[in-house]
Symmetry: none
Subunit: 410 residues, 2 copies
């Protein structure tokens, strides 16, 4: 457990002040050629510029020097949980992301539909990327065929395309272990692997998984393409203090993608409904405005800054940053006591992937010092008064700025 | 064990990219008078300047705030091993540095020849600093007199002047302990001390050491000056992950002094032969060029920046820096994917010793951000985008810049 989180937990107090944390997913970038401008530096952002001029800035490493954060660890760090200590498995994330609550002893598993050829040889690890409709159809078939295995309830959920989630429910208070080997061979031209338990607690789970695989193949034998299942990433419920326990905050999540809602729900935030498709920025602002009175902390997630970076589309990422800039006045109109703008990792268009480069963060609050940084860019944030820090420093800084932390010691 | 090294170890992957880490020993300095220029700032370094303008810079503390690193801890930190966790005894360093392999359970000890007067009183703790030739002669005498003690094989090696190394080899799988007290009283006018074991595993070692002392004095009784031995710094083999295990790197060391070759060999680097005397810079460049295809990582050591600092010779240190600058184009011609220039500690001429001041480091790589630092100096590095960091951050940053690390978490 992070020492700082422990300390903060002991000092947190309830007040009326409100914190708004805006996460521009993957917002940190790189210049296309050495010495050039990043996406943030290229974007025309008059509102962000004005805000930055009246704010304190810094750079944050979400996991550690040189480490490229996945979305899970990046967000955990922003929420104040050291991602090297608090590990959330992909299965648990997926399950919680589609609104499935996990109980103690349950195990959630990420599944892929696959195409198996003669002799159970994996021809396609993603079953030709079926449509979401096909996915739903296949999941319905599986639900009918596998409602339980030897008395253990089995729940099957559609995710998207070739992805689905299985939850094995613990019965009679006996926890299922998650420490078992993958079924996914991570290659084609070979058979799916048999799951093997790495410890005693995993023995029953491995049996359940292997039985599931066999019964699924039987149930899907008439399917030409979606006729096999592969499992990878088993996880039980992560145990760590909720946002309320850690910070005494009533916290709300405003996001539209399952992964982020799942993460927020894992740390005990209420996930607010958002109207609209995809990033649904206007719907998010509406949800924020409507619920402003009800919470102390809002996590407001913007996805497209990452997606465009992942696509390697510099110009599109610049546009998405400008789109957020245009939205910013609506957020400022709510007059949050503390406003933080940050990314969960960098996603430079140049690399078309997440990267290790620190993310700029901005804190706008009443009790700040003079700061020379005048734009919300990587370079300016590097000159900012908040310095280069670990991502887990951000929540304590927000809590402090919101005057929600008691003094440490007499 | 350092969390970050553990994490990096789990993420490292093999790629074709090449990392060149140049260690300018003790390169950090101080101005002779407050407000003046350091050795680096004084030196005319057109090649380093041009490189710095196209690189990212920062400052590193190798051990911790205010801590002056020895060469061992300084290098371990650069190699990514937290020197507060990974401790290598001087005896092990010396042994490995002269090419002696240590096995599990063996103990290596640093010895000094001393001059003993009447009543075994220490007159000179360094036996008047005998010549290397005299050292070899004395070691030969000791080898003849002490090939083994009670069945334990004893190996004696010459180092230089008054310094030698003894290795006690474990027999029958029973490890010798290294936790015993010194023979060296660290003072003259007193007798050598009797070694005492601090734990059970050390009991046999203490006996071996005390017997060695007695038999050495007997063998050297006819010598007028070199007639006693003092021991200080016992060590067994350090246990930590090799460079290959930690980073998946085939690593080569290009150095000419025993200590540095020993350190590199301890972490599993291949030590390449270098032609030439002393710092042998041209020989080092030749070794680098010849072996460029064979390794993923090169540790290239330059010694004289430290020696001149230790001599308190500001102008000479400036010259050695300029000498390296003249060599730099030959290194750049190899087009390393990631080039790092750094020191293992500061050695300001003003102090004529190692010091605690952070060392400037420079990373030249494709995926970097804009950086305002325009020279490889302490002051400019302090304005650099990589900030003030722990030395152990450097290897993860190099690995990341070489695109040799997978993403952490989903």
């Amino acid at each position: 457990m992070s020492d700082l989180l422990d300390t903060v937990r002991g000092l947190a107090k309830k007040t009326d002040s409100k914190i708004l944390m805006v996460v521009l997913d993957g917002v940190g970038g790189l210049p296309l050629t050495l010495g050039g401008d990043t996406e943030l530096a290229t974007a025309k952002t008059p509102n962000l510029d004005a805000l930055a001029a009246a704010s304190q800035l810094g750079l944050a490493e979400l996991v550690g020097a040189g480490i490229t954060p996945g979305s899970g660890p990046g967000h955990l760090s922003l929420f104040g949980y050291d991602p090297l200590h608090y590990v959330v498995g992909r299965g648990a994330l997926s399950a919680v992301g589609i609104g499935v609550k996990l109980g103690a002893g349950d195990v959630a598993v990420r599944g892929n539909f696959a195409t198996l050829g003669a002799g159970r040889i994996v021809d396609d690890r993603r079953a030709g990327r079926p449509s979401d409709e096909k996915n739903v159809e296949i999941v319905a078939k599986l639900r009918e065929a596998i409602a339980e295995i030897d008395g253990t309830p089995v729940e099957i959920y559609t995710e998207s395309e070739h992805r689905f989630v299985v939850v094995f429910r613990a019965v009679g208070g006996v926890a299922l272990g998650a420490n078992i080997s993958d079924v996914d061979p991570q290659d084609t031209g070979v058979q799916p692997m048999t799951a093997v338990a790495h410890d005693e607690a995993g023995a029953k789970t491995a049996q359940l998984v292997n039985t599931f695989v066999a019964r699924a193949e039987a149930a899907l034998s008439a399917e030409p393409q979606v006729n096999g299942v592969l499992f990878r990433g088993y996880s039980d419920v992560p145990h760590f203090p909720s946002f309320d326990a850690a910070y005494q905050l009533r916290a709300a999540c405003i996001a539209s993608y399952p992964m982020y809602k799942g993460l927020a729900s894992l740390v005990g935030m209420d996930v607010l409904p958002v109207e609209g498709h995809e990033d649904a920025l206007e719907g998010k602002v509406a949800a924020l405005t409507e619920n402003w009175a009800k919470y102390d902390f809002f996590y407001f997630h913007v996805k497209k800054t990452d997606s465009t970076g992942e696509d390697g589309d510099f110009a599109a990422k610049v546009k998405k940053i400008e789109l957020f800039d245009a939205l910013l006045p609506q957020l400022l109109a709510l007059k949050p006591d503390v406003l933080c703008i940050v990314g969960d990792h960098s996603t430079p268009s140049k690399l078309a992937s997440h990267s290790w480069h620190p993310v700029p963060f901005l804190i706008h609050a009443e009790h700040g010092r003079k700061d020379v940084a005048n734009r919300y860019t990587e370079e300016e944030a590097g000159r900012g008064s908040l310095g280069l820090r670990k991502g887990t420093d951000i929540m304590p800084l927000l809590m402090a700025n919101a005057l929600k932390l008691n003094k440490y010691g007499a």
